[in-house]
């Protein structure tokens, strides 16, 4: 057991830090009108240096480095410290790119990957439907092959940022006669075409980030299918495995969130004293602190196992539920600390708000976390069945693929 880094790793860390010092000034960028260009320029340079898009071949705009989970970790830490932009966030980079690299055809990679990496192409995930959320295999949106095009009819819903996306990757039914998930295919489609109607749905927070998407004889070329017809279920699983591997470092979010909660407790007065001095508040924070540290060390362990090529066992299955639980507990404590601010509407679109209203958003966001990407009960099914080996409930045999 050794929590320090080797001399080689330390040298690598110094290189990354020096690169960032020379190329990124977070404070200046935040205020600059050309913030986006600055970020794009930094990303380009970081790719040249081998820091970003490491797993992606050069020809597609990646830096094509040997997989090295330790280096990836150091890069994340240093970019985080410098508050420098990392890879373009979102389902395009997280889900579409790895799927295309693994299952896509040559032209699909050539056309989509580089432009997704640099943010030119934005994507929406079209999995959920009004009647198919947890039970994803029952999607009904259909696609029929007519004269070299798939003709798509139906509806997707809760599709995050679809109104700002150019393309969608969707699970659709291409064979009505086949058994549930055997009839599904994974299609890419252009959202900017006649027949596509996108209606942002107002969310619980008041923001409208996810959307309903209607398809009325929408067309996508025959070769915009990823994998073969009927392989959609398997293809969508590849994507998810990539998404899950991204959870290794997920404790960082929980640790940071907990730190903010402690700050809130320091600055909130309760009976004339800082709330953090209140024994009850301290006890609640202490209980949560145990979970947060456990999560952090569990991620050290998962990270070490991955770095040593070992199977991390059951713990990775639990990360989402652990994150959700922590966010929920943070919300519960914050709720009591902010008191009457809970009655204020939260700032919209990530705005900061004058006072404690941002905690109102954290409270609602923690609920989103419990639903998006597979609900907590679906996570429990996964843990129980895949992790603990309990018998499958035949009625949820299809809950294996979850939505973001």
């Amino acid at each position: 057991m050794d929590l320090s880094y080797s001399a080689e790793s330390d040298a690598f860390r110094r290189d990354v830090a020096a690169f960032l010092k020379a190329n990124w000034d977070a404070a200046a960028a935040a205020a600059a009108p050309d913030r986006r260009e600055r970020e794009a320029a930094l990303r380009r340079k970081a790719v040249e240096h081998g820091y970003l898009y490491r797993g992606i071949p050069r020809q597609y705009g990646g830096s094509e480095q040997q997989p090295d989970i330790l280096k990836a970790h150091i890069i994340r830490e240093e970019f985080g410290k410098a508050r420098a932009p990392m890879e373009i966030p979102g389902v395009g980079v997280q889900m579409v790119v790895p799927t295309l690299l693994e299952c896509g055809s040559q032209w699909q990679r050539d056309f989509f990957v580089a432009r997704t990496l640099n943010g030119e192409f934005r994507w929406a995930q079209g999995y959920s439907e009004p009647d198919a959320g947890s039970d994803l295999a029952s999607v009904r949106t259909s696609a029929e092959l007519v004269d070299g095009h798939w003709v798509i009819n139906g509806q997707k819903t809760w599709s995050s940022l679809a109104h700002k996306a150019h393309y969608m990757f969707a699970l659709v039914r291409t064979d009505r006669t086949a058994r549930k998930h055997a009839g599904l295919s994974y299609l890419l489609l252009d959202l900017k075409q006649p027949g596509v109607t996108i209606r942002p749905l107002k969310q619980i927070t008041g923001d409208a980030e996810f959307c309903e998407v209607f398809f009325d004889n929408v067309r996508t070329p025959q070769d915009w299918i990823v994998g073969a017809p009927g392989e959609g279920w398997a293809v969508s699983k590849t994507t998810l495995s990539h998404e899950r591997s991204g959870f290794i470092g997920s404790a960082a979010t929980s640790v940071a969130l907990f730190g903010k909660l402690v700050e809130l407790a320091r600055h909130t007065m309760l009976n004339g004293r800082p709330a953090i001095e209140d024994p009850l508040v301290r006890e609640r924070l202490g209980v949560l602190d145990g979970y947060v540290s456990a999560h952090q060390y569990s991620s050290y362990r998962q990270f070490s196992m991955a770095a040593h090529g070992q199977d991390a066992g059951i713990a990775p299955l639990m990360n989402k539920l652990v994150n959700t639980r922590i966010a929920d507990d943070v919300a519960a404590i914050a709720r009591d600390l902010i008191g009457s601010s809970l009655m204020l509407a939260p700032p919209l679109a990530g705005g900061r708000g004058a006072g404690n209203e941002k905690w109102v958003n954290q409270f609602m966001g923690s609920l989103g976390l419990a639903i998006a990407g597979g609900t907590s009960n679906i996570q429990r099914n996964l843990i129980a069945e895949r992790g603990l080996g309990l018998p499958r409930d035949p009625s949820n045999a299809d809950s294996a693929v979850v939505n973001a």
Partner: protein, 359 residues
């Protein structure tokens, strides 16, 4: 970074586990649990001593193996996972006290026998029930002791008792010393018989070290208790899951019922990610001194708390069988109750951890 066990550490754990599975299966565990007189099995203890468990973390110069607290904690986890009735905890903590606070001569005199187990020891910390912290110890540090200690485990089997004294000093009292009386307590965890000790001008050998050594010793004890709790809690989850795969009701195994499945998933999610808490605390004790006290307090508070919670749910998951004396689960529940309170309840250590974090 490498937050993993080494092959040697896995080997130690496996050897202890294998030994316990062979020598202390459920039937034997119950025999010992029900034995009227102290419930210690000298043969079981001897076998563990032969595996080297007592000397793991003692310096090589005194007959130990010179390993770290992590190694000792891994053994504590394994003993906890098998609910093994042995004087291990008290013994190794007493030996650590001498190793931390003893003079050179005292170490030479006592440690080799403690490392090979030719001497068995225990440690007497608590006063008046819940005064576990060194600042609360009131028995005066002198060559003759007068006062009381309670919840002293395996006191009747011990050749030596290391007693926590005022100012964080330690004294060694020998079995049968003048003015020492040992009154068994009716403890809930019969794998760890407890006693109240009364000293009446009882001769004692004072160890050299003071409050610093006591603080360090208490941190180590917290880590070992946390490891025990993690082991017990993991075993509870395993028992509950195994049972859910066997027991049939309504024509199917109960593990197919989602309500139970979700309870089991939650229990597992409470425990599995928490393993690193005691690893980290043990590692910090050896390598990251400025974090040692806080992470020890945190590990003990969290794991002991979760152990009790999970043990309780394990009883429930077993239905009526879980509520019987003859079934294993009750032994784990009682060890969880012991672990919860021993060295101080979670609330105490959470508040210490908070203070140490600077909140």
């Amino acid at each position: 970074m490498n937050f993993l066990l080494s092959p040697e550490q896995i080997e130690i754990q496996t050897a202890v586990a294998r030994y316990l599975d062979a020598e202390c299966p459920s039937t034997r565990l119950h025999e010992l649990f029900d034995a009227p007189d102290g419930r210690a099995d000298p043969r079981l203890w001897r076998g563990l001593l032969d595996l080297g468990v007592a000397g793991l973390a003692l310096p090589e110069a005194y007959g130990g193996m010179g390993l770290e607290l992590v190694d000792l904690a891994l053994v504590a986890e394994t003993l906890g996972s098998r609910a093994a009735p042995t004087p291990f905890l008290g013994h190794v903590i007493a030996a650590l006290a001498i190793s931390l606070a003893g003079s050179e001569a005292q170490k030479q005199r006592w440690l080799p026998g403690l490392a090979d187990g030719s001497i068995t020891a225990t440690v007497a910390l608590a006063e008046d029930g819940a005064a576990w912290q060194p600042e609360q110890w009131r028995v005066a540090a002198a060559s003759a002791l007068t006062g009381h200690k309670s919840f002293v485990t395996h006191a009747a089997q011990a050749d030596l008792i290391v007693v926590g004294l005022e100012g964080g000093r330690f004294g060694i009292v020998r079995a049968g010393a003048d003015g020492l009386s040992i009154t068994p307590q009716d403890g809930i965890d019969r794998t760890r018989p407890c006693a109240v000790l009364a000293f009446d001008r009882t001769p004692a050998e004072l160890l050299e070290g003071g409050a610093d050594a006591a603080a360090r010793l208490c941190d180590a004890a917290l880590v070992l208790a946390a490891a025990d709790a993690f082991g017990g809690a993991s075993r509870c989850v395993e028992m509950a899951v195994d049972y859910a795969k066997l027991r049939r009701q309504f024509g199917v195994v109960i593990g197919q019922f989602q309500a139970l499945k979700h309870q089991l998933a939650d229990m597992a999610t409470d425990i599995e990610p928490a393993r690193g808490l005691y690893w980290y605390a043990a590692h910090a004790w050896d390598r990251l001194p400025e974090q040692a006290s806080r992470s020890a307090a945190q590990a003990k508070a969290h794991l002991a708390d979760r152990y009790l919670h999970v043990a309780r749910r394990t009883v429930e998951a077993h239905g009526g069988i879980g509520y019987t004396w003859e079934f294993d689960v009750q032994i784990y529940l009682k060890r969880a109750m012991f672990d919860y309170a021993w060295l101080g309840v979670p609330a105490l250590h959470r508040s210490r951890a908070a203070a140490l974090a600077g909140w």
